[in-house]
């Protein structure tokens, strides 16, 4: 009899352990008064140089099948990104172009926790290698509700930022 009681207790403890650990303890990512601001997009920055006409002397040095009169650099500039909330930088990064030849798009994905409230959100991006100004920027006043997920993207067609 004690053997069956032992088995019953074992199964009960096992079931309780499985049942409890499958949902408990709760994991909290955000406090009740917090929200996320996410930045995600892919963008191809400008190439590091302009195309140029090769001289006849340069063409002569190339193999006959490689003699293209125009030479264009493949590499792209890194993309510098800065996100500010009420003037305070909450995310910034310099994104390298993808690809073996650094000629692909730069990808960004970032989530930042912020307190809910109204913010002056500013997003600026530099994709031409200059440092004195942003090539693309957007500044909007945004009311962020608790638990909201504000997504900052970049529309490649209109070449402008989008905040959803």
């Amino acid at each position: 009899m004690s053997r069956y009681i032992g088995q019953f207790v074992t199964y009960a403890v096992f079931a309780a352990g499985i049942g409890i650990l499958s949902v408990w303890p709760e994991y909290r990512m955000l406090e009740d008064d917090e929200a996320f601001v996410s930045v995600t997009f892919s963008h191809a920055a400008k190439r590091i140089g302009e195309c140029r006409q090769l001289t006849q002397a340069e063409l002569n040095e190339l193999a006959p099948n490689m003699r293209k009169p125009i030479s264009c650099p493949r590499e792209r500039h890194p993309t510098y990104l800065e996100l500010r909330a009420d003037g305070e930088v909450i995310f910034s990064d310099s994104l390298l172009p993808s690809g073996l030849w650094s000629d692909g798009k730069s990808n960004v994905y970032n989530r930042t926790n912020v307190k809910a409230g109204t913010y002056q959100l500013f997003i600026g991006m530099n994709d031409s290698g200059t440092t004195d100004r942003f090539d693309h920027e957007l500044s909007v006043e945004k009311e962020i509700a608790p638990g909201q997920n504000v997504v900052v993207g970049f529309d490649g067609l209109s070449n402008s930022f989008v905040i959803e």
């Binding site: 053997r3 032992g6 088995q7 207790v9 074992t10 199964y11 009960a12 096992f14 079931a15 352990g17 499985i18 049942g19 650990l21 499958s22 949902v23 408990w24 303890p25 709760e26 994991y27 909290r28 990512m29 955000l30 406090e31 009740d32 917090e34 929200a35 996320f36 996410s38 995600t40 997009f41 892919s42 993808s98 692909g104 798009k105 990808n107 960004v108 994905y109 608790p146 638990g147 909201q148 997920n149 997504v151 993207g153 959803e164």
Partner: protein, 516 residues
């Protein structure tokens, strides 16, 4: 360090083992069927999963609704199946964890047994990926959290050109095709690899234990069913990509690593996962141990009887056509890559007998590390130390805790690699040559033979159910067995030794009987 961790793990498992052995007995002790239990849980997951698949819709809007229908409208079947699906998956992870700890604790993963250990690593990965993709398919708040965090992890790998996590931030970025892909991985792709992986995992074992005892299966299934009725698995709120998931009821069996992605970084989690996996993969050679010589076949004494092939727990011996021109059809061949040097083949060999009068004791198959001749010599020398009228010679597996107890108690002890290495003619030899009045055979103390079948085969040989059998002229009561695998032989080994000693007749009564 490793020895310390193994001792600690053995102590921890001992705390579990003792009450479980009392409740279930050694034959049905769940700790002795962990691998088979995991497979049984997989069966429950498979069957319940097929039912869920019938009603599941692979689309952003349909996934959540179809599971809500199963959970609430069809709770009596679909809801129970869903709960069984989740709880059996969780139980598989729990059993998997204890299985790994047990193999590590009892050092049954090292050297020549590396294959099963290493093939288990991708299995663990597959089981986790299966569970994670399963949570993804529910498309509730937990699924949203799992999707975004998994995508953040995958984005860390240099395999995607665009950010994958960006697909889970707005409703417009998410498509039904993604669910189709996830469903394919969860329902078809990974399960196929899992079945293949399980086959590979047990490939080098002969007679692998695939099914746990029936009563254990019934009890476990009943336990899962009761849990499913009392505490059914339900979805959390429907995923809403416009809002951030603030808190989730996490399944800690599968998702325990996910909070680390936020607390640390995806790169740190990858480093941890890959680091642990590499450490586990290299564990069989940490530290690199000296590998003893494998069993060797002596063709002059091998009659091709095939008993060693039948008894080898690791399928390391094969029969092939005779190469020495003798009249026997076949000969045994040992695969040194599979041989674990347990010596069970020596115990099975009918030519391993110390009664041999012509020439030295060289059986058809022998273990160079501890030959049959060595055993014979040790038995004679240890028996010489016995005196009195109740002389008991003990045999034990080397390195077992029972062996240490007997040695500490000052008992006459002969150690063998595994009890299965001891051929029955040796027992006959001890009694018939009056080297001792009785013998005590003890095996591994954890309730499971380190070399899988050593105690089973010895028990069957002594009780004359398996060749080579103990000769009928031997009084079986003079060969006491004390191993944890069998209910009738359980108990404290020293107490059993005392009981055996008490059961032996006194010398005076022997003399009277002789006179009468």
């Amino acid at each position: 360090m490793i020895a310390f961790l193994q001792r600690a793990a053995r102590a921890g498992l001992g705390l579990l083992h003792r009450p479980l052995a009392r409740a279930f007995g050694p034959v049905e002790n769940p700790l002795n069927h962990l691998g088979a239990l995991i497979i049984f849980f997989c069966w429950i997951v498979l069957i319940s999963g097929i039912w869920l698949l019938i009603f599941f819709r692979t689309s952003v809007s349909g996934a959540f609704e179809s599971l809500e229908y199963l959970t609430h409208e069809q709770w009596y079947l679909g809801g129970i199946m869903r709960s069984l699906h989740r709880y059996a998956s969780d139980a598989a992870i729990a059993a998997l964890f204890v299985h790994i700890v047990k193999e590590f604790a009892f050092d049954t993963y090292r050297l020549k047994r590396w294959f099963s250990w290493i093939t288990g690593v991708p299995l663990v990965w597959m089981v986790f990926v299966l569970g994670i993709t399963g949570y993804w398919l529910v498309w509730d708040e937990l699924a949203q959290y799992v999707a975004i965090t998994s995508a953040e992890l995958l984005d860390r790998l240099p395999i995607f050109t665009d950010s994958m996590a960006g697909n889970f931030l707005t409703e417009s970025a998410l498509s039904d095709r993604f669910f189709t892909l996830m469903a394919f991985m969860h329902l078809i792709g990974l399960p196929i690899f899992l079945v293949f992986g399980i086959w590979l995992h047990v490939f080098r074992l002969s007679r692998p234990s695939i099914n746990p005892p029936r009563r254990l299966m019934a009890g476990t299934l009943l336990c899962m069913l009761v849990l499913s009725f009392v505490f059914p698995a339900v979805s959390q709120d429907k995923a809403d990509l416009a809002t951030a998931t603030q808190a989730v009821d996490l399944d800690w069996f599968y998702l325990h690593m996910y909070p680390l992605v936020q607390a640390g970084s995806p790169g740190m989690v990858w480093l941890l996962l890959v680091g642990i996996s590499c450490l586990i993969c290299f564990a069989p050679w940490l530290p690199p141990g000296k590998i003893a010589e494998p069993a060797i076949v002596d063709l002059a004494n091998c009659n091709g009887c095939q008993r060693c092939v039948d008894d080898c727990p690791f399928g390391a011996i094969q029969m092939q056509t005779r190469s020495d021109g003798r009249k026997y059809e076949q000969e045994a061949v040992v695969d040194s890559d599979l041989c674990t040097r347990c010596g069970i083949c020596v115990g099975a060999c009918p030519t391993a007998t110390p009664f041999r009068s012509r020439g030295p004791l060289i059986p058809g198959i022998d273990l160079p590390e501890l030959t049959a001749a060595d055993m014979s010599g040790t038995i004679r020398s240890v028996a010489e130390s016995l005196s009195g009228d109740k002389r008991i010679l003990s045999f034990s597996c080397s390195g077992s805790s029972t062996s240490a107890k007997l040695r500490k108690a000052g008992e006459a002890l002969v150690e063998v690699k595994c009890m299965g290495q001891l051929p029955p003619p040796f027992l006959d030899y001890v009694l018939s040559r009056d080297l001792a009045d009785a013998m005590l055979l003890t095996g591994c103390s954890d309730g499971r033979c380190r070399y899988r079948f050593g105690t089973n085969w010895t028990e069957e040989r002594v009780t004359r159910k398996r060749d080579p059998r103990l000769r009928k002229r031997i009084d079986e009561t003079r060969v006491c067995r004390a191993w944890q695998d069998f209910p009738e032989h359980q108990g404290n080994v020293l107490k059993q030794l005392t009981a055996l000693r008490d059961s032996l007749p006194d010398a005076a009564s022997d003399d009277e009987a002789t006179a009468a």
